[in-house]
Subunit: 649 residues, 2 copies
Amino acid sequence: MTTFNRTALEEVLKKRFFYTPSFHIYGGVAGLYDYGPPGCALQANIIDLWRRHFVLEEEMLEMDGSIMTPADVLITSGHVEKFTDWMVRDLETGEIFRADHLIKAVLETRLNGDEQARKAEIVAKSDGNAKSEKGKKKNNKVQAVKLEDSVVADYETTLAQIDNHGGDGLEEIINKYNIKSPETGNDLSKPVEFNLMFESSIGPTGHIKGYLRPETAQGQFLNFKRFLEFNNDKMPFASASIGRSFRNEISPRSGLLRVREFTMAEVEHYVDPKNKNHSRFNEVKDLKLRLLSRGVQEGGKMEPIEITIGEAVEKKIVDNETLGYFLARIYLFLIKLGIKPDRLRFRQHMPNEMAHYACDCWDADIKSSYGWIECVGCADRSAYDLTVHSNRTNEKLVVRESLAEPNVYEKTVLEINKKVFGPKLRQNSKTVEDYLTSLNEEQLEALKKALEDGNGVTKVPGTDGNQYEITNEYLTIKRQTFTEHVREYIPNVIEPSFGIGRILYSLIEHVYWTREGDEQRSVLSFPPRVAPFKCLLVPLSNNPAFTDLVGDLAKRLRKLSIAIKVDDSSNSIGRRYARNDELGTPFAITIDFQSVNDGTVTLRERDTTKQIRENVDTILQVLMNLVEENVTWEKVMETYPTFTQQELD
Amino acid sequence: MTTFNRTALEEVLKKRFFYTPSFHIYGGVAGLYDYGPPGCALQANIIDLWRRHFVLEEEMLEMDGSIMTPADVLITSGHVEKFTDWMVRDLETGEIFRADHLIKAVLETRLNGDEQARKAEIVAKSDGNAKSEKGKKKNNKVQAVKLEDSVVADYETTLAQIDNHGGDGLEEIINKYNIKSPETGNDLSKPVEFNLMFESSIGPTGHIKGYLRPETAQGQFLNFKRFLEFNNDKMPFASASIGRSFRNEISPRSGLLRVREFTMAEVEHYVDPKNKNHSRFNEVKDLKLRLLSRGVQEGGKMEPIEITIGEAVEKKIVDNETLGYFLARIYLFLIKLGIKPDRLRFRQHMPNEMAHYACDCWDADIKSSYGWIECVGCADRSAYDLTVHSNRTNEKLVVRESLAEPNVYEKTVLEINKKVFGPKLRQNSKTVEDYLTSLNEEQLEALKKALEDGNGVTKVPGTDGNQYEITNEYLTIKRQTFTEHVREYIPNVIEPSFGIGRILYSLIEHVYWTREGDEQRSVLSFPPRVAPFKCLLVPLSNNPAFTDLVGDLAKRLRKLSIAIKVDDSSNSIGRRYARNDELGTPFAITIDFQSVNDGTVTLRERDTTKQIRENVDTILQVLMNLVEENVTWEKVMETYPTFTQQELD
């Protein structure tokens, strides 16, 4: 990672049109990107793999819902009130920053400066404080300024807990560490909440307020009842959705990692709150994950432990089997894509950091040149969402489970003797009845005792606050036996939620390298399954003798549904291979003069640049197996002789 | 079509969760729908087929772009000014209608009433006018009122040209035919323009106005230069995009056919304006299409002609080969999906109906119970979009073509003699120079003649409007030879644009039927390729003896990437088959007691309900071939003996 050159990679991605700022000829808009052909294909392949790994593998119920969402839904879910970030403003220029990101950037810059100073063994003695002040003023540039050991420790603790603060906490940090506007050194405003949802209005009257959804989850919850029906009322099960969501980020930076519009893939797994075990947990329990628990972070450290998910659940580091099962499945998915295991960790959310609905939450963080970035969240949202939507709409979002053994239980109940109650209390009967019916079992027992103690007479408040006398004749309080044949419950929801763009960018960094001795020759070593194009089809030159063969082969490859790129441009064959190494195309079929004569073609592999030469049918069979990852290139090289050199004329 | 029962179909679609109004537990929002599992899978399969048929087949450059679009882009494209519909308001209740739809509904209702009256041979004589007035007042209900023959003819002509009117034309029709608010009979307002784009603002300041894109096309045009580079500067080529777009419809009705948020798939094919031939036109030229040309519609008729696309292009009914090629490709795509050829036609746009950018446009209309609905548009957008964006941004969106033979030509040019011009005209030199450099060749020749006629002296205006004397000494006007090695041009764009939701709904109507003698047993006969689920996996009963076999088979089917639905509920086998007929699942594998003993299973086909029984390996092989449409069920029935009856215990 130390030699990683982001500028060089970005140059390749731009040149090969993986992605580009949207509307770039208009100057672009921060946080909006277009994927060009290779980026678009890469994204489609990641989504395809996701669908196979999650939806098909577990027969999840996929839906595709509306982005435009009426305000009412998002008021109920809590997003209108709480889906916010804290922003601060440069008091002179008016420039706006996201408060936590600004603090993080400033403190990290100071720590870097400290590190440099220590390395250079600069001992700043008499003028240390003055220099330090200067370093704080223009705090966007790294300056070699040594800090006190205690200050370093303070900064590190603050950084480890940065996600755990609200507006007041952020303000305190800004004041305590004298944080200013980075470019100008001006004072900053107090942190102010900013809602991250894009607002619009629906229909010609302008009366219906709408927001662009910030997640696909709500659309899934609102359909819970229909999903359950579709699933023949069987529990547990999951719904899933892949689609665009929107967050009006305060000041998006970091390329694809923080954007205003993004494709996400979300699973909502509905589970009985009394039993969060998972029937397939056994299949994953021995998988080792790197976990960074809440406790470790609270200690100000960021060192994960490596532990099997089975042990983590047993030790209650991870709350339950279903949550653990999905952490493991997320891990397997990311590794299959090509994410490097040593740059992947699972971090538990801090209590104040969790979304307002969550009762436990782990992020899959992937390390790139931007640091550790949350790419997948896996939250236990409890019964929060289904409960609030159900309360708001009076639509029951529950599971009704037939009990094998009926549930028999006793309960203290109140019976009002209408014949006496009404006539005696007259106009006050409603306020007293409302009070009485609001009592729980314990309170009813207390009332019963009060009546006994008062020889059948006592006083109770009405809902109006006045006291009223009641007697034994007005009501009966007794134990009664109930028999339930059906158990009704609101399921809990475990939600793995994937930011496809973040995963895509992190993956690109993980598979990027340059050929030894030639930094100009970049390679993106995507696994065949996710590579944008599977095979380059390339005639040795633009000699017309090759045209028909190229056309025929292209047709056969298309019929096999293998995504190809034909490059019959006049560039040298080496140049054309190099271009496709940058696109991450794992294989190339080359047609040369020998092909015209004997029907053989060569197959080149991207990482090794080695080739084999066989007849077309054999090559296509080998290629199919390679693309579907049924065979490795190593195995192919053992089976077929290596072909060394194309004849160039 | 006469016996088509839409209510029954809608019941099936609701019950099987193909789609549902979004946010239905909140009362829903008109024009917003969620696709449930079968609708979502059906949509994904249509998109997959689209991608193979268009993108892969022709190596189109697919991109995935931003939905949120800054206002500047859509001001330039003309959408802010012109992307509008006309609405009218009930002057008393304030209810809003889309003007053209309202007129259409009212006139069609009157024509239906006329038809009923004629059928019933009611001859309304003396009180005909009064009745007729009444029928017009409450004009949303069909009333059997006979119309004059000339009125019927008038209505029909008006309906055939309804898309050809602006606000004034619509107002005239409303007045002429005495059209009122349908429910109340109240007067209507004048038609007012309403912009169909959803508006929002980007970023924390609220200063950047944005719209949700109404089409994916603009995002493609803005990347034209990068596409051309990616394509090694080769022309012609196409970009493509599949994604969500938004239109804030005035009063959406007609279910999935008119919605506010929809998935569209668009191709932008860039072509040399001097050569709109297509290299693969030969492959399609003998295909017969049903064309409804502009001329036919202007004659007030809606009868298409059947003609080969080759002949249509030759006769200039369709403007050029590329447009014709895409009409044919659209036809082939829709037929492959399962759209019935006799309910598909291509209708040419009327001059005033065409989008502001188009120079010719054909719709693929599909007939359903809602009438003929545009499901695909195929427009020649000329060089409009690239030109306006290029002018606005000063970014050249052109093709530079090296000429085999340099282009040599003469041109009249102006040369200003700076040494004399400036010193003589002093502070007026700029206004005169600006005028002179704005002259075209013809004007330069005229000026030259004026100088000759005036013996080397004449007067010219400055850009300030004043007259200035100039002489031969100030300038030279002469013929000069130029040699061009590169031709630079702005390509034209042919755009096939698909509304996926409209195609999806129309397809459902086309494949829907009920079993003879049992209207309760509905079937959706999707072709295997597009069916949401390919195979039902069903144990004969919920006897535990079947559990392992079902699990093993499910695993094998998933490995083959065959989308399955396991139904091990306690419903009867007949009930479970019927449920999956309604989902359009073409095949079912049944596991029974014989399966446990000898490893054979049965394979059932949806439309015929016929079965075969073979060992698992054979059945899987047959199923694979059926799903990939390599073999038909008829062929399978010829090869394997029919299996007649499951033993039920």
